[in-house]
Each structure stands twice: as structure tokens, then as C-alpha cells.
């Protein structure tokens, strides 16, 4: 995939086009869909942070929800206490999350797969209880995060959810574009090197620990952005808004998308949001007892996850590329 | 002929590690397989013991084919393999490592007997019987590895580089005990060695492997005498 290099500029147009398409399509949608759209964008950002971490630097996190939370809270706190413009709060949210990531990354760099997985899990379990230690964090019911109503030029009665969706989409495009360029930069190559083979990387003079920590920091920052978006769509932050389930969903989404390329990131995000819908329609058709209908979404998503790991471990996009390359090879013969 | 291999071919992915190899070892004989690095010696051995899958060819042991038989089942057919490096379980004590060899026989009494036999062959192991095997010296570990193989009451013993990384004195001991075992237990032995000289000295039969192909088969003494072999593998 590095064969065809595309400079930041031209790729920028690609993303712009993507944005325009989404904008165009979304104009046809009702609030339910645009709100789900906003959620999708939130997931895209969150999942890409995991893909960066896992696919490009070989680390894992089962507790990334914690960093979303940090980002969301940081943004909400700055918004509420200093009443700064939203965009500033977003930036601060990202920075604070990144710093938190750097701190955890320091230790994460020394941990291998299962240890890291468990520790991040423990982090996600442990962190929320902090909100009750400090008055300013507002306890279990959390804090408001009011980004205000849509700008006037969008017209009277313009749905805030559509506004959220636009902002979320913009955030998604910018972060993916940035991430993509970062991954094609020197750092990206280093990460892949480390992922591929520690020893070789070390021999070629790569400071593995540093590159791991950097990856974790960036990842946490992006996660923080997702956290702010989530806070925006909720109009508030609270421990309940960043539950363990969220962390698991992100990991799940990353695997559904395929952890070693950003290409499929949309797939995981859309699936996560679509599953409950699908479950709904299924149980509508088949009826089924309440016990079944209420548990169907969980079963579907878990089942899908397992099937993916079993049969398309590297994700649909990678799979397509592989099979295409195979065909090419055959044609070549 | 107790061990018969013909046209055996083994691939590692694309590379052909063992190419059309044919060889035969009579019962009770010690055959040394020599050859430079990457000649396919180890692969050949691992294939015989069922660790690697052959691509084509035939392998017969006691007249029965052992193609595609799993390693854990070959032991039950009397084939014991001492793999390259000190093939012992470091986390286990010497005694446990030895008992491991007899585990498939599911017979505590026999196991106990074999244990005594082995410790009489390698008294050193007897002295260190309760120690964890990762506290042993290289030579002792090699003895332990061989001892474990013996515990399985094998008919065919496959030895992969028993001399690897050992001091000359120790190497001599090991080779000596291998020779003794072959005779005392009427074993058929396939011995893979870098240390060609040492190996050929104790061997009845010598097989030279190069780039996966058999380039020479003869009785050990005449191989030692052969100038080409000398120049190529014995280094003088």
C-alpha cells in the first residue's frame, strides 16, 4: 500500500470529496439518522485511534473509553469554568487526553499484549471512581457540555443534531486526514517497523519504547477527540457516558474494520451503530420473547466479532486487497 | 533393512529443504548424517519423527509406512527423537524430564526400572535427580535429553547435533555413551552432526547430505578415508 504514495495535498481533495458526498446524502436524512450519523463519526474517530495503536504499533487497549472520558471531561470543564469557544475546548480535550495517554504509554511501552490488555481494562474500571473524589467533576451525574445552538446562517429551526453531525463529520475527516499523513510520515514507518519486528527495528536504530509511547500518546489524543464529540452529542459528560461497554465497542469496531489499515474504519463504525437496528427489525419479523429481543443485539455483535476474527482476521478491506493481489498473481502466470 | 527412506522430498514453504533423499539403515547400526549448514539434515530428522510434513516420497520403519504419522504416535512405534539443542524441559526436574520419556507407556513400574537403567548409564543424572534441569551443565542436559529418549524404550533413536556447543572432552563422553547405547540396547541410530569426524568415528554407516541431496553413502571408515569428503567436511 505504500507503493502508490499520494501527497497530503491531493489526498486532502479526496477527503473533501468524501465530506461533500456525506453532506449531500445527509441532507435527505431525518434527525434519527443524522444523530446516528454523528455517533458513527464518533466511532470512526475512536476506532481509528485503536487501529493506530494496534495495527500500526502492535499495542492493544481494552480501556480506551477512559481516554474518551478524559477528553470529554477536559473539554466540558474548560467550557463550563472558563467559557472558552467550543473549538478551544475541543483542542484542550484532545491535548489533555494525549497527556494522559503519554503517562499511561510510559508504562504501556514495557508491557506485552495480554498484560497491556488487562492493565488498560483495569484502568477503565478504576478511573471513573475519580469523579467522586473531586467536587469539580460533578460526580456520577456529570457535567453539562453545551456547545450552543447551530449558527444562525443555517437558518431558524435547524436541527442541532444535524449540526452535531456536520461537526462530527468535519472532526472525523480532519483527524483521519491528519492520521493518514502521519502514518505515511517517518513516524508511521517507524511504527510499522516496530510492529513488524522489534529486533530488526532496534538494530536499525529505532528507539522502540519512544515510538510506542508516541503511538500511545497520539492514539489517546484522537480518542480524546472522539470523547469530546460524544460529549457534544450528549450535551453532557458523566462516568455513565463512557462505560466499559464503550471501550469494548471500540476494540470490536477496530477488529470489524480490520486492525491493519484505516481503509475499512467506516465498516466497523457503521456496523456498531447498525446492529441494534438490524436486531430490532429481526425481532420485529420473528417476534420472539422479550428475553430474546433484548439480548439479540449483544449476541449479533459478539457473533459477528468472533466470525471476523476467525475468518477475516485482517479485516474485510485487507482481505479484498489480498484476494485481488492473488488474482493478479494468477493472471500474471 | 529396518529404516527405509526413498525419494523423500520436504519443502519449507517454497524452499526445497530435502530433495529426493533415499537411504536405508539396517537394524542395530549407527548411521551418521553429515553435511554443512542448511544441507537439510535437521529437516530430514524432523520429518522422520513426524514434526515436519513430507511433500512426497516414502518412509518405512520395520516394513510399515510412517508417512504422515504424528510425532506423538511414532514414539509408540519405537522412534525417539532428541531434537536439536538441549531438548529438555527447563521448568521440570531431572527426574520429571526422564519420567516424561516414559509417560506414554502408562506403567509406573516399568518407568521406575527404565529410570534406574538410565541413571546407571548416566550416573551424573542420578546425582542431580531432584534438581531443576535448567541448573544442569550443557553436557548433563544432553545426557538428560538422550536419557529421556531412552526412557521411551526406543528401537530407532534420532539424534540431532548432540555435540552442539559442548566442550571437546564432553563431546567425547557423549559420543562414547551413544556408541555404548547402540550396542547394549541394540538400537538403530540416525545421528546428525556438524562434527563430522567425531560422528563418523563411532558410526557404522556414513551419509553425506548437500543442499538437500544425498551425495555420498558408504561405511563410515571408507568415508573418513575418502579424500573428497575429508577436504569438504573433515577439514584436512
Amino acid at each position: 500500500m505504500h507503493k502508490f504514495k499520494v501527497g497530503p495535498v491531493s489526498s486532502f481533495f479526496g477527503f473533501t470529496i468524501a465530506g461533500l458526498i456525506i453532506l449531500l446524502v445527509s441532507s435527505k436524512l431525518d434527525d434519527v439518522r443524522v444523530y446516528q450519523g454523528a455517533t458513527v463519526m464518533m466511532f470512526v474517530i475512536g476506532i481509528s485511534s485503536i487501529i493506530l495503536l494496534t495495527g500500526y504499533s502492535g499495542q492493544i487497549s481494552l480501556g480506551h473509553g477512559a481516554f474518551l472520558g478524559v477528553g470529554g471531561y477536559a473539554a466540558a470543564l474548560t467550557r463550563n469554568n472558563f467559557n472558552l469557544p467550543v473549538i478551544v475546548c475541543v483542542v484542550i480535550g484532545v491535548l489533555v487526553a494525549a497527556i494522559a495517554g503519554a503517562l499511561i504509554g510510559l508504562s504501556a511501552a514495557r508491557l506485552s499484549g495480554p498484560y497491556l490488555a488487562g492493565s488498560t481494562l483495569a484502568l477503565a474500571v478504576g478511573l471513573p471512581s475519580i469523579v467522586n473524589q473531586f467536587e469539580i467533576l460533578g460526580g456520577e451525574q456529570g457535567l453539562f457540555f453545551d456547545v450552543g445552538m447551530p449558527p444562525a446562517f443555517l437558518g431558524e429551526g435547524f436541527s442541532p443534531y444535524r449540526w452535531f453531525f456536520y461537526s462530527a463529520t468535519l472532526a472525523m475527516l480532519i483527524s483521519l486526514w491528519g492520521l493518514r499523513n502521519l502514518l505515511n510520515s517517518r513516524y508511521g514507518r517507524t511504527w510499522r517497523a516496530v510492529r513488524g519486528n522489534d529486533v530488526a527495528a532496534q538494530l536499525s536504530g529505532v528507539d522502540i519504547a519512544r515510538s510506542r509511547i508516541l503511538a500511545f500518546t497520539v492514539s489517546a489524543g484522537i480518542a480524546g477527540l472522539a470523547g469530546v464529540i460524544l460529549a457534544m452529542t450528549l450535551g453532557s459528560v458523566s462516568p455513565g457516558a463512557y462505560p466499559l461497554v464503550l471501550s469494548f465497542s471500540l476494540a470490536t469496531g477496530a477488529v470489524l474494520s480490520g486492525v491493519n489499515t484505516l481503509g475499512g474504519v467506516m465498516i466497523g463504525a457503521v456496523t456498531l451503530v447498525a446492529i441494534p437496528e438490524i436486531a430490532d427489525s429481526i425481532s420485529h419479523r420473528l417476534g420472539g420473547s422479550e428475553a430474546v429481543t433484548t439480548n439479540l443485539p449483544g449476541i449479533l455483535v459478539s457473533g459477528l466479532l468472533i466470525l471476523t476474527v476467525l475468518f477475516v482476521p485482517n479485516g474485510p478491506v485487507e482481505q479484498m486487497r489480498l484476494s485481488r493481489n492473488k488474482k493478479r498473481a494468477h493472471a500474471g502466470r | 533393512m529396518s529404516l527405509n527412506v526413498s525419494n523423500l522430498t520436504v519443502h519449507h514453504g517454497a524452499i526445497c529443504a530435502v530433495n529426493q533423499v533415499s537411504l536405508a539403515v539396517p537394524t542395530g547400526q549407527l548411521a551418521a548424517i553429515i553435511g554443512s549448514n542448511g544441507a537439510g539434515k535437521t529437516t530430514l530428522l524432523r520429518t522422520l519423527s513426524g514434526l515436519n510434513k513430507p511433500t512426497s516420497g516414502t518412509m518405512n520403519w520395520m516394513g510399515e509406512s510412517i508417512m504422515g504419522v504424528k510425532a506423538e504416535n511414532l514414539v509408540r512405534r519405537g522412534i525417539s527423537h532428541v531434537s536439536e539443542g538441549k531438548s529438555v524441559v527447563p521448568a521440570l526436574t531431572v527426574k520429571e524430564n526422564l519420567l516424561l520419556g516414559a509417560i506414554w507407556r502408562r506403567n509406573a513400574k516399568e518407568a521406575k526400572q527404565s529410570l534406574e537403567e538410565v541413571t546407571s548409564i548416566f550416573p551424573r543424572l542420578g546425582e542431580r535427580i531432584e534438581q531443576r534441569s535448567d541448573t544442569l551443565s550443557g553436557g548433563e542436559r544432553q545426557m538428560l535429553a538422550i536419557g529421556r529418549a531412552i526412557m521411551a524404550k526406543p528401537k530407532l533413536l534420532l539424534l540431532d547435533e548432540p555435540s552442539l556447543g559442548l566442550a571437546p572432552l564432553v563431546i567425547e563422553q557423549i559420543f562414547q555413551s551413544i556408541k555404548d547405547l547402540t550396542q547394549s540396547m541394540r538400537l538403530t541410530v540416525l545421528l546428525v552432526e556438524q562434527n563430522a569426524m567425531g560422528a563418523l568415528k563411532i558410526a557404522d554407516l556414513g551419509i553425506v547430505l548437500n543442499l538437500g541431496k544425498v551425495v555420498a553413502v558408504d561405511n563410515a571408515q571408507s568415508l573418513i578415508a575418502d579424500p573428497v569428503v575429508r577436504a569438504a567436511y573433515l577439514g584436512y
Binding site: V6, A18, L29, D31, S159, G235, T294 | -
Partner: protein, 432 residues
């Protein structure tokens, strides 16, 4: 990389396609959303699955059961009541999405009994769907006093008395009944516990021993014993428990294990005898003599006309579901809603139903023994508690056989014995 980019775009196209399947809002027909000549559709989001589900998962069923009962008796003003429920697993993000769906897709007339402070806050907050679409949220199921503030939440109607009120009532009771005794408290170290502390503070009650605990930590076997240790060392003679039922169960369980018997005062949120008894960790008799609070009669007081009726309805319309305080909560919500609909008259609108509750909501028939505080200026629900004593069967009996109801507010108003006379149950338990 080119490939990658194309993928990204096509992927977004895919997602767009998925989204395109969406329905587009049709032009709104005359009359209020969710209301037809013959029907009214309500929406509810609350946990059916997830960590918080056990117990609460019964509430929607109870609401439906009462609605069915009403419908079998001709509905209200010729309209049948229906409820669309969506499971939010107690996750605010899901709750908001559910609310948006209920409003836009299911086209409900109003939301009912949303559960949990965080979720409710996200739904009725500034950017919450209830606010954005100006949809009333009736009888929310949380004790957070904030929602009663009409200015902040013009379309939100609360039901439960606030934690602050409860704390103030307890404080008053302790000062009257247990002067100069050593008082201890175990409370959940979060906002709901802190709300309570504010209440005790305003009522001027100081604690000799105070034991905070992290929410969920009662699930760690090591935790509860330490509470008792602290209480004992502090020599508390009267102990207030202000925590969720799992924590209250844990506390009593450990106390029983230690045969530690102070004078218990169990806050209503965790003091539900059926829940504690069903935990099988202690004999119910151990609760005998403990003080408890409630604003409604206890769920096993079958002599109470409302409870009796609810039991009957539950048996018929919600078969196989054990009757407990969750059922009572659900039916009370439904019962009050039905009356609000009735009061709002045939020309039912989202504005008119809120107005109706503000106007006459305080006079609606309902099991609550404390006065309802609805007025044109306030959306406060029940405004007080009666204090009783648990008997050996876990029933909460009013002291000297009469409900003495203390009433107050979430602010600085004093705690007074209420003179409120609960409206008698209308015939057949139907709004009249």
C-alpha cells in the same frame, strides 16, 4: 494508498446508503403528534438489559399493564393508551438515541419515567431531544432535585421526592426521637449521597461517624465489613443508610454477620424490604425494628386500596411477574399519566398536558401519602415521607398505626408534619 482513499470514500458511500434507508419525516398532520381520535402513544427509555437492569426491568411492563387495564375499560376520552419502550442499558448515549427515535420514528406524544439521573439529564438537558423537540417528559424516575426546576426544565415533570427532602425528614426524625445519641451514616460517595449530605446540613444534623463508599464497591466482598468496623469504632448508636439496595443489603448482611444491632434508619432508595429479603443473605426478621421511609404505602400492604388494586391489575395484565415496589412505581406513573391525559381534555396537546399537571396535578389520585407539589411555578412531585418501622416480615408499618407524613422542600423550608389527605381511589382505579 490510492486504493485506500477510494476505499474510504466508497466506505462512506456505503454508510450513506445504509443511512438512506432512513424514513423521511412526512409533513405533520393536524392534531398533536402521537395522538389520534382513538389513541395516544407514549414513549419510555430505561434499562431492560445491562448492569442496572435487575429490578428496574419490571417497570415498563407495569406501565403497559395499567394502560391495558385502562384500555379494556374504554381508554381515556375514547383514546387508548399505548407505550413504546426502548432499552438503553442505563447508558446515557443510548438513552438519548432512544429518545430521538421514540420522538421521530415512533412519533410518541410524550416521554414517561426516564430512569437514571445521567440519562434523564442527557435527554432533558439543553441539547437533549426532549428540549429540542419540546416534548414533555412526565414523571421522571430519579430523585435528583434539579429536574423540578421549571425554568431549567420547562417540559419535565418529576415524581419522587428528592434525596434532599428525604435527608431533611430523616434529620428531623432523629432530632425528635434520638436526641443526644451518637449518629452514624453510610452513604454512596457520589452526587446522590452528596445531595443527602446537603439535606442533613440544611437540617443542621451532624454525624459522629460518617462512612462514604464508592458506587459499585459494595460488590467487592472486602468492602462492607469495613463499614461496620468504622461504625463500631465510632460507637454509633443510630445508623442512617443512604445507599442503593445492593449496598443496603450488603450493609445489613454484614451487620447480621457481626450481630451488630444499632438503630437502623434506611433511606427509601435502598430500603425496599422485598429486594433485601430476596437477596437471601439475611433473614428478613433481622430488619425488624429498623426505621424506614416511604412516600407510598409498602408494596405488601394489601389493605391499602391502591396497592390492592395494583396487585389485582398486575395479576391479570402482567401475569407471572412478582409484585414489588418496581411494579408500584410503574403503575403509579401510568396511573398519574392517565389522569393527566384525562385532565388535559379532548383537545390534547403537548402544551396542554403539562399545563394540566401544573393546574391540577397536585390533586391527582395516587398511592403517594405525601402531597404532590405540582403548581404553575414548580414541577416538584411528592414532597415528603412518612417514617415507619419494619416488622419481622419485612413490611414497613407506620408508627402507632397511623401514617405521620413529614413534608418539606429541597431548599431551606422547615420539615413539618403534613395535614395532606390522600385522595380516595376513584372507582375501579380509573381516572374520573
Amino acid at each position: 494508498m490510492q486504493i485506500n482513499r477510494r476505499k474510504l470514500i466508497s466506505a462512506s458511500a456505503v454508510m450513506a446508503a445504509v443511512a438512506l434507508a432512513a424514513s423521511v419525516i412526512p409533513a405533520q398532520a393536524a392534531g398533536e403528534v402521537g395522538v389520534t381520535k382513538t389513541s395516544i402513544k407514549f414513549g419510555m427509555t430505561s434499562p431492560k438489559t445491562g448492569a442496572a437492569a435487575p429490578g428496574y426491568e419490571k417497570i415498563p411492563g407495569a406501565v403497559k399493564a395499567y394502560f391495558d387495564y385502562v384500555n379494556d375499560n374504554g381508554g381515556i376520552n375514547g383514546r387508548k393508551l399505548s407505550l413504546v419502550h426502548r432499552d438503553d442499558q442505563y447508558v446515557p448515549a443510548t438513552a438519548v438515541q432512544n429518545a430521538i427515535k421514540l420522538i421521530n420514528t415512533d412519533k410518541v406524544f410524550a416521554l414517561l419515567g426516564t430512569l437514571g439521573t445521567a440519562s434523564t439529564k442527557a435527554i432533558v438537558g439543553p441539547a437533549g431531544p426532549a428540549t429540542v423537540y419540546k416534548v414533555p417528559t412526565l414523571y421522571v424516575n430519579t430523585g435528583f432535585s434539579g429536574f423540578a426546576d421549571k425554568k431549567k426544565y420547562p417540559n419535565t415533570i418529576t415524581l419522587l421526592p428528592s434525596y434532599v427532602m428525604e435527608a431533611k425528614v430523616i434529620a428531623k426524625y432523629i432530632k425528635d426521637k434520638y436526641p443526644n445519641k451518637k449518629i452514624g451514616i453510610v452513604y454512596q460517595d457520589d452526587d446522590f449521597g452528596k445531595d443527602a449530605l446537603t439535606g442533613f446540613k440544611t437540617a443542621g444534623l451532624k454525624f459522629d461517624v460518617s462512612v462514604p463508599y464508592a458506587s459499585l464497591s459494595q460488590g467487592v466482598a472486602t468492602v462492607p465489613p469495613t463499614w461496620i468496623q468504622k461504625l463500631k469504632t465510632g460507637g454509633a448508636e443510630v445508623v442512617v443508610m443512604f445507599g442503593v439496595s445492593s449496598a443496603t443489603t450488603a450493609l445489613l448482611g454484614t451487620a447480621y454477620a457481626l450481630s451488630y444491632k444499632p438503630q437502623w434508619i434506611l433511606a427509601s432508595i435502598g430500603g425496599d424490604a422485598t429486594t433485601i429479603a430476596s437477596s437471601k443473605k439475611i433473614p428478613v426478621s433481622f430488619m425488624a425494628g429498623a426505621k424506614g421511609l416511604s412516600f407510598a404505602p409498602s408494596p405488601n400492604d394489601s389493605k391499602d386500596e391502591y396497592i390492592a388494586k395494583f396487585m389485582e391489575i398486575n395479576a391479570k395484565y402482567n401475569p407471572g411477574v412478582a409484585f414489588d415496589n418496581n411494579i408500584v412505581a410503574g403503575m403509579t406513573t401510568a396511573f398519574l399519566t392517565a389522569q393527566a391525559v384525562k385532565a388535559a381534555g379532548t383537545n390534547l396537546t403537548r402544551k396542554s398536558i403539562v399545563a394540566a399537571i401544573e393546574k391540577s396535578g397536585s390533586t391527582f389520585a395516587n398511592p403517594a401519602l405525601a402531597p404532590l407539589g405540582y403548581s404553575t411555578s414548580s414541577h416538584v412531585g411528592a414532597t415528603g415521607y412518612w417514617v415507619g418501622t419494619y416488622d419481622a416480615t419485612g413490611g414497613l408499618d407506620p408508627d402507632d398505626n397511623k401514617y405521620t407524613v413529614y413534608t418539606t422542600d429541597s431548599g431551606s423550608a422547615p420539615v413539618v408534619v403534613s395535614t395532606y389527605k390522600r385522595p380516595a381511589m376513584p372507582e375501579k382505579g380509573l381516572p374520573k
